[in-house]
């Protein structure tokens, strides 16, 4: 096999009772020398699990065709293993903190800050780092590439290779500096977040589709022998905050969605309602305030006033602004 494979613990901290909070990496490297390095991370939120299936798919394809690998591929399937075990988004030690608000970490800080520092240093200098997230039981998303860098254009070109449903250039908010992809971009390592979601469908198909995009991007970067480059579909790109409509509810109750994820809705179209089972009443019909593509929608669940129901990509809103 012309590829070496090595599993290493690259970040971690001992826990009190004979266990470590260990983040493990599997490295695939061509024996004939690497032209660069590509990192795939998932599970920074412990309740998001699809990334593991995607990384498994990537590993299977490399193993099946090792002669096509031209660069190092580092797979980090689960950054928050304790969170995975209890289905928890946060890191369940201390006061429960969001790992994706703790980067680039601190070598002299808390265990979580040290682990984040070790991870960021391990990924530093890669040609590309993809941080894979996925939907939870509370919301469905389209497959989105999210970019938080100060200079997004080069990353937009790379995101197109992934063929997501949507590319979203996030506003340069301070909080995102502390995300994995935001911190890596700040360190000069190209990175973005990919929101992959099975949307109630077959997760194997979603994983295969995302893996297709990953290998297309690796081929684009010269790290995978991809043969002739195919033409890419036109992918909508959100570049301004004004293009995103955040639909929230005004009443508490149970949200019953009218499934419209991935659909284009018209202004005034109902996308769900809030019901009260005790009264047997409909409390609120939730309508889209403008026409556009629904790229995020909440699932059936209890809600409070202000709960995010949907995000809609509405280019006409920017044009009218």
């Amino acid at each position: 096999m012309p590829v070496t494979r090595e599993i290493q613990t690259v970040a971690g901290a001992a826990l009190p009772i004979y266990e470590s909070f260990a983040v493990r990496r599997c490295r695939y490297a061509p024996e004939s020398g690497a032209k660069g390095r590509f990192c795939l991370a998932s599970g920074v939120h412990g309740d998001e699990t699809l990334g593991q299936l995607i990384l498994f798919e990537v590993a299977q394809r490399i193993t099946a065709q090792p002669e096509r690998l031209a660069g190092v591929v580092d797979l980090y399937p689960m950054l928050n293993p304790l969170g995975l075990d209890i289905g928890e988004r946060m890191v369940p030690v201390g006061t429960r903190l969001d790992m994706n608000r703790s980067f680039p970490g601190n070598p002299d800080g808390t265990p979580l800050e040290r682990i984040c520092h070790q991870l960021a240093e391990d990924m530093r200098g890669a040609d590309f780092v993809l941080d894979i997230h996925s939907g939870t039981h509370l919301k469905h998303e389209l497959c989105e590439a999210r970019i938080t860098a100060k200079e997004p254009e080069p990353l937009i070109a790379l995101a197109r290779q992934l063929c997501p449903d949507l590319i979203w250039v996030y506003p340069d908010r301070i909080a995102y500096e502390a995300s994995l992809s935001g911190a890596l971009c700040g360190m000069g390592t190209p990175s973005m977040l990919l929101q992959a979601d099975e949307r109630g469908g077959d997760p194997r198909k979603t994983a295969a589709r995302v893996a297709d995009g990953i290998f297309r991007l690796m081929a684009h970067l010269g790290l995978w022998d991809g043969g002739a480059q195919e033409s890419l579909p036109r992918i909508p790109c959100i570049r301004a905050e004004a293009e995103v409509v955040r639909v929230t509810c005004q009443r508490p109750g149970m949200y019953v969605p009218h499934p419209c994820i991935g659909m284009k809705v018209s202004a005034g179209q109902v996308i769900g309602r809030i019901i009260d089972a005790l009264d047997g009443a409909v409390l609120e019909e939730i309508a889209s305030p403008s026409a556009g593509l629904v790229f995020s929608q909440r699932c059936y669940s209890s809600v409070y006033p202000g709960t995010l129901i949907a995000r809609i990509f509405s280019p006409e809103r920017r044009d009218n602004a």
């Binding site: 001992a14 004979y18 201390g94 006061t95 608000r101 808390t110 909080a175 508490p252 109750g253 006033p305």
Partner: protein, 310 residues
């Protein structure tokens, strides 16, 4: 005293969550005091309840100065306190990472917006807050270094230390930071414990707030003299971290004066009782912070020592 509902979060199957404000006096919005923003900030709630009780007596005796007013908000997160959750449970969000808030945003952003809409009008702001790691502090005043901070004024609380802290990225969405940018002289008070009531620290914190209100001419009340505060910064504190994981057996506690090399704690093998590590003081000084959990993970900061040689 006037008791107002400042904001209501209606709920589906629970009672509505009302954020209550207790107002004393009329006129200039002089000082606002906010207690719990997290569901486990019991000590912070307790200090506020004691303050409301105290100011009620002060007002009855005519001790609120003419043209001055004080607002106390004991808790903005009653729902999570009742449910035993630290964060705003429906969104798993920290309200103290949502300031200055957004009236049309998420529930936590709406709570932050409603609070900040009131709080930003006050000349002085006091937040009783907790640390993001479990532990006990020597009671102190904390000021965010925003370029607008006034640590000298913080000395009027009469607590031993005023700690000017360099904000990290995540701190820029906190109440203290937003408050200062809005023009309020904002201070955070660390009242010892968080998840349980510490009577001595609560009393000290309560007296500090009363001392500040007296000093600023907002109330007239009997007050005991405080400490001559020292202003300290990040560089004055030395962190002692555990290289091992295990059970933490402390020998020294917050406020203790220690000599360089003195034993502070043992990290024990949790099953056989053997000592995995002995933590020692890196310098002669005072223990400013002590981790108080029974378990310690590798690399955890266990002590902060305020060095005498700073």
């Amino acid at each position: 005293m006037k008791k107002d509902i400042l904001f209501t979060v209606p709920s589906y199957f629970r009672d509505d969550m009302n954020i209550m404000g207790y107002r004393f006096g009329k006129g200039e919005k002089s000082c606002a005091v906010l207690g719990a923003l997290r569901g486990d900030e019991v000590q912070q709630l307790y200090v506020c309840s004691r303050l409301v009780s105290y100011l009620r007596e002060v007002e009855r005796d005519g001790g609120i100065m003419p043209g001055k007013s004080v607002l106390i908000i004991p808790t903005a997160i009653g729902f999570s306190m009742n449910a035993g959750e630290r964060l705003w449970a429906p969104e798993n969000m920290d309200i103290n990472r949502r300031f200055p808030g957004d009236a049309d945003g998420s529930t936590t952003s709406r709570i932050a917006d409603a609070l900040f809409d009131r709080l930003r009008l006050y000349r002085y702001g006091v937040q009783l807050t907790s640390f993001y790691q479990p532990g006990s502090f020597v009671p102190h005043v904390r000021v965010m270094d925003t370029g607008r901070q006034n640590p000298d004024l913080g000395c009027e609380f009469g607590l031993p230390y005023v700690y000017v802290r360099t904000p990290r990225s995540a701190d820029k969405a906190t109440l203290n930071y937003a408050w200062q940018l809005a023009g309020t002289q904002a201070y955070s008070l660390y009242a010892g414990k968080t998840r349980e009531i510490d009577e001595a620290a609560a009393e000290q914190t309560l007296r500090a707030i009363i001392r500040f209100l007296n000093g600023r001419g907002i109330i007239r009340s009997d007050v005991t003299p405080g400490h001559a505060s020292s202003v300290i910064a990040d560089g004055d504190l030395l962190t002692v971290s555990a290289a091992s994981a295990g059970l933490l057996r402390r020998i020294k506690f917050a406020g203790a004066h220690v000599r360089r090399g003195e034993q502070l704690a043992f990290i024990m093998n949790p099953c056989d009782g053997s000592v995995r590590e002995t933590l020692k003081a890196p310098a002669t000084g005072m223990l400013f912070y002590v981790q108080d959990g029974p378990f310690i993970a590798e690399g955890s900061p266990v002590f902060q020592v305020l060095s005498n040689t700073r």
